[in-house]
């Protein structure tokens, strides 16, 4: 009788616990969806925009988009859900958790090309071909870029800017002191040969902000580009050209030499600190995308006096494209009507003009006005329309996320071991296993 009571009690408890947890589960699944707008009209609710634009010039540029949206849609509150962490690595993690949980933001930032294709394949991004047709955007964008925004003839993302990743920011005084001059026609081997000269003059030749893993990864990809050209680079990131090709090997050896001439606190500096150090005279050169231009201007540095720029030696005909684009969710969209208004505003010529001025990038559409743009940006916009555009690997654009992470990890390993053979071996294997 005692045993019977015990068994019954156990069964009763188990049943009640399970019943309670089932009730709790049903109740909580409703709440994430309610976070966004409950009204179906564009005249109410919130628009949550997810990005990694948190540093000075980036935040100012995002504000331009926010103001444009709130003017177009006065009843909707703009919610800035930016997550900091250089190059977006923290933001990506948060975003993938939210997408997994069926709780997407209204719109999120990503890079076109493979970064976009990943969310398209998973069905997270909505088809917006109708928006493209309604606004006639196809005619305004360069062909290479259009290919990075569509899959199977359907468009999924709206681009907002074009950054150039192969720009070498220089300190004119430091270079003059070392007696070195860099121009658009300098070759990569001349540049590498000039580094010891700069060191001998008492200045750190290259500033690198290696705390952000994308910085050394980007430096290496640009050196590789200088050695194999745009075609060779495109073949490399699709697996058609193996990493242990002699030209790529030369590039990695040159990267090793550059690393010997880099600031000794690179492991604790972020990309913007390294750029600022160059403008302050602590080193002579710094390879960074032209988002550094926006950042330096924001910090009050003057182009021509505090810093100067040249296309990275050997890559003057190449535009290493790093772009940002916005997508809207295909399912569980919190505020679908406001999202369409948001996307439409992004390619308005006036908004494009103002946004890119603050961001330091080039507008993606031809008819955005360049009035009031600094010289560098005018040149960059022209280069975007005329030079060969390639997609960056360091920013997970030209290859899927796993390959890009393998590349980034291999570069981090290389920073420690400086073992060229090991790096090439890892990358060739990764090409075989992860690409094509």
């Amino acid at each position: 009788m005692v045993k019977g009571f015990k068994r019954a009690a156990l069964a009763l408890t188990a049943a009640s616990v399970l019943a309670l947890s089932a009730c709790g589960g049903a109740g909580s699944s409703g709440s994430p969806g309610a976070e966004g707008s409950a009204t179906g009209e564009a005249g109410g609710g919130t628009l949550e925009v997810f990005s990694w634009w948190t540093s000075g010039s980036e935040a100012a540029a995002l504000k331009v988009l926010e103001d444009a949206f709130t003017t177009a849609s006065p009843g909707v509150t703009f919610k800035n859900a930016a997550v900091s962490g250089g190059g977006g690595s923290n933001a990506r993690t948060v975003l993938s958790t939210r997408l997994q949980g069926g709780n997407p933001p209204d719109s999120w930032q990503l890079h076109p090309d493979q970064d976009l294709f990943a969310v398209v394949e998973d069905g997270s991004a909505a088809d917006i071909t109708d928006l493209y047709q309604a606004n006639g955007w196809e005619a305004k964008l360069p062909d290479t870029v259009k290919n990075m925004l569509q899959k199977d003839g359907k468009y999924y993302a709206v681009p907002v800017n074009a950054h150039r990743a192969n720009v070498l920011w220089t300190n004119p005084d430091a270079l003059k002191k070392a007696g070195v001059s860099l121009s658009e026609t300098t070759s990569i081997s001349d540049f590498v040969a000039a580094l010891p000269k700069i060191k001998a003059a008492g200045v750190t030749p290259v500033c690198l902000g290696a705390k952000d893993p994308f910085a050394p990864a980007q430096l290496l990809e640009v050196i590789i580009m200088a050695n194999v050209g745009a075609d060779g680079y495109n073949q490399l990131v699709t697996g058609k050209l193996p990493f242990d090709d002699p030209k790529v090997r030369t590039a990695v050896e040159q990267f090793k030499t550059v690393l010997e001439n880099v600031n000794n606190d690179s492991a604790v500096l972020t990309w913007d600190q390294a750029a600022l150090n160059t403008a302050n005279g602590k080193c002579a050169t710094n390879l960074m995308g032209d988002w550094a231009f926006g950042e330096l201007n924001h910090k009050g540095k003057k182009d021509g006096t505090d810093f100067s720029h040249v296309t990275f030696p050997g890559t003057s005909e190449i535009f290493d494209f790093v772009g940002d684009a916005f997508v809207i969710p295909a399912e569980n969209a919190p505020n679908a009507a406001a999202e369409k208004v948001w996307l439409t505003q992004l390619l308005d010529p006036k908004v494009q003009s103002e946004f890119n001025l603050k961001k330091g990038s080039a507008p993606v559409i031809k008819d955005a006005s360049l009035d009031g743009y600094p010289d560098y940006q005018k040149k960059a916009a022209e280069a975007f329309q005329t030079k060969t555009i390639v997609s960056s690997l360091a920013h997970a654009q030209s290859a899927p996320a796993e390959f890009a992470t393998t590349y980034s990890d291999a570069v981090t390993s290389f920073l420690g071991s400086k073992n060229v053979d090991a790096f090439l071996k890892t990358m060739t294997e990764a090409q075989k296993n992860q690409l094509g």
């Binding site: 690595s89 993690t93 000794n264 390993s413």
Partner: protein, 338 residues
Amino acid sequence: MSATPPAPPGDNLKAAPTPAIESRARPRFRGAALFMAPSLILTFVFVYGFIAFSGWISVSNWKRPTRQDLTLRHPFGATYLEMFQEERWQASMRNIIVFTVLFLILAVFTGLVLAVLVHRVTVAKGLFRSVFLLPYALSFIVTGVAFRWIFNPNSGINKWLVDIFGIENPPQWSTSTTIALPIYQPSGEGFLKVELGIPVALLPIVIAAAWQLSGFAMAMYLAGLAGIPEEELEAASMDGAGEFKQLRHIMLPQLWPVTVTCLILLLHTALKIFDLVVAMAGSGPGFVTDVPGIYVYDMMGKAGRYDKGTAAALVLLFTACLVIVPYLTRIYRKERGH
């Protein structure tokens, strides 16, 4: 013990752990099972059930976050093999073992020293106890940021070393890629791709972690010291034993159970370390400060390789179990009276 009928399984769980005394008749509270059941069920589902699910994912084909593919990957365990051949994972394992050993030694030793000193102090004992225990209340991120500033190679403690002590080449702390006391150099062809030794870059992190947790060790030792009868120490000093001899022959042997408990409790903190390393140095150049916690985070978030992430987490669990399970088994056996 032999006269009573064998106790039903439930009774062993509800009995409070008694020291190794012969167990007397324990109160048999029949309703105890009712009280235990909710906890047990929740633990079973949310801990063991989820561990089993993670184990399944680690041998499956789930390689992209939003494309769940739970079919078995062939050959079985290929993900584990792939992971152990990676330079980054080998570096992570080396780092976590080195970090755990150094951290445990430093934290427990510092805790013991502090406890012995505070135990003897006559003035403001409570104040000293609180001050040494205070770091335990901080979050690892706060400690990490503060110590990152301290160990910045261009400012912080190095400026002090250069300006005041005139040391020419101060240590590079967490930016250094040197491996001290290397016992193995990778040949480039073999299975092991990393140098085995003590990464110098881990030392600042060990110091920061020990600073935060030695207060905890001190608190445990103070409790242990309070349990040592004063008469034994007085008898020893009357026999002519000095402070050190007393410490070595009377206090330390009696503090052994406390030491073991402390080591076990700090072990799981050391193995799971994540936020402190991220705040201080990240993965470091050449992965000299990478730890499995960061590896799992990167695999799950950045690379989206759910199978590798769960495999790494399970290896970490296994490593922790290697130490904790024998300890728990020994305790359990002792309580049942062998």
